[in-house]
Symmetry: C3
Subunit: 648 residues, 3 copies
């Protein structure tokens, strides 16, 4: 992949008269699009009947685009199998927990574990890879499309068969499974793997151990399905391979991207929710170390479908969204979609060109953002992101645990976005990293909402602390075993409590119980399922107003090696709670001499990058209000709404 910064558009030439292509190319060049993505829903066009392939159309389009300076990302079409694959074969289709089979007519209606589907998928991917790999302008591959966005776990018979095989591999013996899942509870004990059910409907909840394992199984299987495709493509092509996911899809991204070459994602927040987009940048940058991520899809003005749409982007917001993306490590920024869908459920979705072939309300913004990119491209390609000294653990396995056990309605992503916003508002540069990430360069690590801390993750974190790092752990982190059970030696991972110099005495939720905590000079209501600690070697930092917790702390600090472990047993909430979090982060950042920040008014983003001359900063106005701030000795910087400046 050449080091060209990509502005993409999702392109569906198969849906339009061939005569449109010339207009499309002209308008793409005008809009600043240098790359298109194609093919991801076109299985029926590519293979109209079993074994009959027709890829000439796409080949010709690719060549024509390339002749006009536009490159292509080509996709495999497995998200939308043609009707001939399911007609009269309901047993190949997805079955939800209600036991109802899906019908042909939308996307992701297939069971990804169905052997016949897998076989047909391998065949079509092979045919595509063979043909397309030879064409000019091919810059990357995308596998499938937004896997597991519409559906989560399939519960069909075939999945049941594979599930039981998977369990056998995982546990070795049914005795081990019974022990770790605690199946004596409610007479769930199994005498053979063949008896273990899939999570179809029950009068009350399935065993969380079963549920979470089924989620993990499903995520492994869909990654396996992807890997099958990757392997085939690699036989024919050297172009890098990606997949376009989204934080909310039912995948384990750390695993799902392991065999991919770079990360890309889709996200459609409106301009009011820019902090969520920034969080995504900070997540996806860190998923494939050292490789630029792509925003594969975002809306030029708004997303939407026949059931609704969010707000319109504010004028020029794209400029900030795109420059922030590239400053934060993007290699590509893609719009969905080029030309408004003429049919189907996404007709109301924002596009760059309308169904009648003319610029939409988003067009000018796309063009403006592209223009900005052109100006900063040299600076971007000659510099790189700065490794953040503050890192936050982000985990899809944690999310799977909360999907099983939401407790007080916890949505993992919502909680992480809320916490991220507080960190963002401190102004410090930050990375969101997978559980088991390399912590080189990190000084302050936050690990909130991680119900299970795997032994290797714990080891890595402790070693980071030994070397001088500060690790803030919690709330809820380390409270469940790998099999979604409780520990029996302590409330939290026994090694964690030991290292943190604490002993959890009570666990319960202070939410709505008039319990407030005091720390860093502030008091705030405590919330969420919590641990209250007796300190052994730690010092208490935060205590409560509840007499039953008189000797206990919700926040503690313990020296460990050359660093320290800070246990955040309970979540301070409300405005005061956010303030307390920021104070805590500020306190440790100061102590650790973390200086990756500029003093900016809220609503503005400072991104440090480095080149041969050292560190410089992208300062971007994200809230559309513009800003003005002092910089350097007597400097004064002014930024237009959604504009940016580069400062040293």
């Amino acid at each position: 992949m050449k080091d060209i910064l990509r502005v993409l558009a999702a392109y569906y030439p198969e849906l339009w008269p061939a005569g449109n292509i010339g207009d499309d190319i002209r308008l793409m060049r005008d809009a600043g699009i240098n790359t298109v993505r194609m093919g991801e829903f076109a299985w029926a066009d590519m293979e109209p009947s079993p074994g009959v392939f027709n890829l000439d159309f796409f080949s010709e389009v690719m060549v024509k685009l390339h002749d006009n300076g536009i490159d292509t990302v080509f996709c495999t079409p497995s998200a939308t199998p043609p009707v001939w694959l399911s007609h009269n074969h309901p047993e190949r289709l997805f079955m939800g927990t209600d036991g109802i089979r899906m019908m042909h007519g939308a996307r992701q209606h297939f069971c990804n574990n169905n052997p016949f589907f897998r076989k047909r998928s391998r065949i079509v991917v092979g045919a595509i890879a063979k043909k397309i790999s030879k064409l000019p302008g091919l810059v990357a591959w995308q596998i499938d499309n937004e896997m597991k966005s519409h559906v989560s776990e399939c519960c069909c018979e075939e999945c049941g068969r594979q599930w039981r095989q998977w369990l056998k591999n995982r546990y070795g013996s049914i005795k081990e499974l019974n022990k770790l899942w605690g199946t004596s509870l409610w007479s769930q004990k199994y005498s053979s793997f063949s008896q273990v059910p899939v999570p179809l409907k029950t009068p009350f909840a399935h065993n969380p151990s079963l549920q979470t394992n089924y989620r993990i199984f499903s995520r492994e299987k869909i990654a396996e399905f992807q890997d099958e495709q990757v392997e085939i493509i690699r036989k024919y092509s050297k172009a890098p391979i990606t997949h376009n996911s989204n934080v909310r899809h039912y995948l384990n991204h750390a695993e799902h991207y392991r065999n991919l070459d770079f990360a890309s994602f889709d996200a459609y927040y409106d301009s009011d929710n820019y902090s969520k987009m920034l969080m995504d940048y900070d997540i996806w940058r860190n998923l494939k170390n050292g490789r630029k991520f792509w925003v594969m899809e975002t809306g030029p003005s708004h997303s939407g479908c026949i059931f609704g749409y969010p707000k319109l982007h504010k004028k020029s917001y794209l400029n900030a969204e795109l420059t922030a993306a590239f400053a934060l490590g993007a290699g590509g920024f893609g719009y969905w979609l080029w030309r408004q869908q003429r049919t189907g459920p996404e007709m109301p979705h924002g596009a760059i060109i309308s169904s009648w072939g003319e610029p939409t309300i988003g067009f000018d913004d796309v063009k403006q953002a592209g223009g900005s990119l052109e100006k900063i491209a040299p600076l971007l390609t000659s510099s790189e992101n700065v490794n953040a000294e503050i890192k936050i653990t982000y985990s899809d396995i944690a999310r799977a645990f909360f999907l099983t056990e939401p407790l007080e309605g916890i949505d993992y992503i919502d909680k992480m976005q809320e916490l991220y916003k507080s960190v963002l508002e401190t102004g410090f540069h930050r990375d969101l990293v997978p559980e088991n990430a390399d912590l080189k360069g990190c000084r302050l690590l936050l690990t909130p909402y991680l119900p299970h801390i795997a032994d290797e993750s714990l080891e890595k974190a402790l070693s980071f602390v030994k070397d001088g790092g500060t690790w803030i752990v919690g709330p809820l982190s380390g409270c469940r075993t790998a099999d979604h059970a409780l520990y029996t030696e302590s409330a939290l991972h026994p090694e964690l409590e030991k290292a943190a110099g604490v002993k959890t005495v009570f666990t319960f939720s202070p939410t709505n119980n008039d319990i407030s905590g005091t720390a860093f000079g502030l008091a705030a209501p405590l919330s969420i399922w919590s641990s209250f600690f007796r300190t052994t070697t730690a010092k208490p930092l935060g205590t409560t107003n509840d007499s039953r917790l008189a000797d206990l702390a919700f926040l503690t600090e313990n020296k460990y090696g050359r660093g320290r472990i800070v246990m955040l047993g309970s979540m301070p909430s409300g405005d005061q709670g956010k303030l307390m979090l920021k104070k805590m982060i500020g306190h440790y950042a100061a102590d650790l001499r973390i200086s990756q920040k500029l003093d900016l008014p809220q609503g503005n983003l400072a991104v440090p990058r480095k080149n041969k001359d050292g560190i410089f900063w992208f300062v971007i106005n994200m809230d559309g209000k513009g800003c003005s701030f002092k910089y350097g000795k007597s400097g004064h910087v002014k930024i237009e709404p959604y504009g940016f400046r580069i400062i040293k």
Copy 2:
């Protein structure tokens, strides 16, 4: 049908001891009931086992009623097939989109397309028609009861078979279907009609083209089922035939009533919602041109069932409801029901007589309203409704489009009721007419919320404009093809944009986006999926405060022939929005010299009628507050709460 104005009650003598009939007749006469409706749920009594008919009971009741001056509307009982029709035959029963079959035990549990059901239905209808047609007092027939009130589209195998046949007839070739539905999208392409699915559950939405067509198919099929019955009855009887529907039922009324002799409907709004009842009158009057409509069912005091009930009517409200009905073109006004149900889910429903045979809280109001009718009957039968100069297009096909594509939660009927209320408050007399209605006499036509404008409707409207009419089009009108797709020449129907002298530049929804529009000296927030226009020959009337729309208009006016087309691209909302709509209507009404109104305080209705002496007015107090207004040179008119006056 003799020109007698009918006050009806739904009568179920089969549910009560024969001895009650004498009491019923006595009380009916006291209450002013001159007609009953019977038979619509009595299949099991009429045909207790297959082929064994017992119609003597109903015959005897009819004769007895007739002997006492009470006529009968007789119904076919197909809404409630007996248990012997479904027992051990689940394949004959309705199947929803979740694939779950219905069970015997309520109403409409059958698949109306099941051949065995159709056959048995023909047999029972034939037996009834043969016997009942000869009896005295028969004034009309009702087919079935409230078809498709509880269920919408059946998705069973038999429906699938007929659906594919229907598609074959509609499209001729699968290629044509593929083209119009855009099935290349998401690999939905079909190689034969046999592959096209019914809309059973999918992970995301079915193709809107499929969905809307399935809705149309289902509406045609139920009309076909009705026509089968109509044909049989006509062999034996000359009495006019109707069906009792409701705007919310899943029918295409324009088609459903085509082969019926007169329109009748059921409606149960409480007295606070009288404007919805008036809208119904204005709809149903115009469904069967030149034939009086009937209110077949309304509550004497309140409706209700075991799951709840709306508010009670205010005292004397029936007087206003009934006089308004007859003034606006009713030929009958029916109460559901005569005697409170003793068993079943509707026990709490208001009735005229209680389960223990005595007057209910509604009785006196029924009697009072009947008394009013008696007084005005001569005037009503010697006069007729005045053709409204303001007409509003009302379409069940539009509703089907919105059921498929609700966008920001649009409920077609709610939106039309909201808009109707604004028109009603201007005081002008108005008709709600089907898409393809005769526009004779119309000066101002409003066509809002009509996603697809059929070519013949467009032609008719344009011809109306050419002849001097003013056509206000939109919002959302003309934005979808007949197959629920987008146009590719323009946002709206290409001929419409041309005739209107506009070019849609942007489409999106301003709802919640702080975009306001200014027109007729008022500013109001704009809302709902919109078109913003560049004018070619039109003049802009309404512009916005959004810089991206600086050169565009949301409201335009274009001369066309001797008339003009006003494009309402976006919906002004809130109180100011309603005011703007009223100002717009007032403006054009003044310009067109529409004078079909009296100046009355809000809450009062003026209905113009004409007889040999010319125009006169029914003025009815609808809000229960009474009113007093100046009329003529020095006249002063006072109306009691829910009372009425006739003025010249």
Copy 3:
């Protein structure tokens, strides 16, 4: 059962290493636990494969506990059949009204009417009874666990078969069923019992007669299933037998406990909702006359599961909850659970000991409450409850009627709890008694929300009135026949109207209709489906502001024998409505010289008990605010928050 007051904990030694038992016993003794409950979910451990029994583990635990002074309640494990009972046999599993079968993996997933399940259940219960009955420390048996808590009525084929047999027994002939259910309505008429459906999905509601009967059938069947177990246990054991239900479970408790030896129940209200707990005490004390009831399960601090949890108990609340229980007639007070679940959906549920074996936040409260009990035990065991002069009818059959016909969203239990709270706030001692209870000692009987009053209940109540009692009847009482139909002689039970000297003129709901009633010097909005009366011999006590009801009363009083019947036709609502209710009760209590109350500030409970010296009072602070009041001539009593005092 020895007259020892029991403090229990639910104990699951099968889920833990055997080595824990010593610690458990030590901590139980510390916490004041003298009894455990065991075995209720352990079928798979007891019978790991069909016919292979292993009860030694439980036997040994029981003996060890007994050696340490801890007795045992032993349970049958039928709530959680092992997987070998359902594997490959979906036909044995529960099927809801949606027709979807349950899957193994939680609790209550079986059809309790399945013959194979019944057989296996009898076998395991026999094996348990035989073995455990001989062991020391066995103080009671519990059948199953919280029957019908997760599911209501099964609709499988086997249930259908038994349902039709049940109907045959109930009605004798299908003609009788047709008559009482009014099946002519909607062509539901059956020609044989074999045609009567189970309440699987229909387009609209099933006949309420069918629905309510199906509920009654289901409740009888689950009682029959329990009786089967009871009979087997009695062959081997003399220990008393109970079941642990909850007011919200889908049982008819009066019937369900008929063959049991004592009542016990589970309840988990938080401390803010103590009035609901007190209502439970007042219900369950009266279910098995003359036998102490047990609180079999309540939370030591909070309940909860993976989907959430209520508030934490306020500190020391347990002290008030437990002393109130024993004062109000408890013989046992049990905590769920001893040791926090290590796995499964209830991991977050409060326990006495944590998963890591240490005291939880609830431990100290458990201990404190146990200490209180120890102090008052001699007084409790030497005294007994006083028969309340005010009794309130409480009926699960009434609840079944409202489940069928909720009208304006009526939840029977919510309504009863609301009304109970008003009675509680009057301070009078009260009993909640089954429909057909012995009324000895009662002076004032309230019978609200009882749609069907059975003839024998009516007879009993009228005889109570004849003897001088005052009976307040309504709202809604007596408005439905035994088969959930309306009467045809009158709105309410004909004999009731006659005895009450009233004639219902109108029935409808005044809710949201601006209708207020005046009585006892207060005016309040009227609500809920109501009867408005013309008095024959009664005197009107409460009239309304609605002109249509001018001559009618919503509240009447009629002398009957030496007593009187007060008809409450409509429910006064809001704060004024509650005040009116309290005034009414106060009025009649004064008149009847009911003196079972102490004058206490709100938030405190006075419980009269009697011993050989006469009446004395437990005064308990329930709201955690403590209290201070004058007592006797110059006495002044002060009570600590959640504390209690015994006064003469």
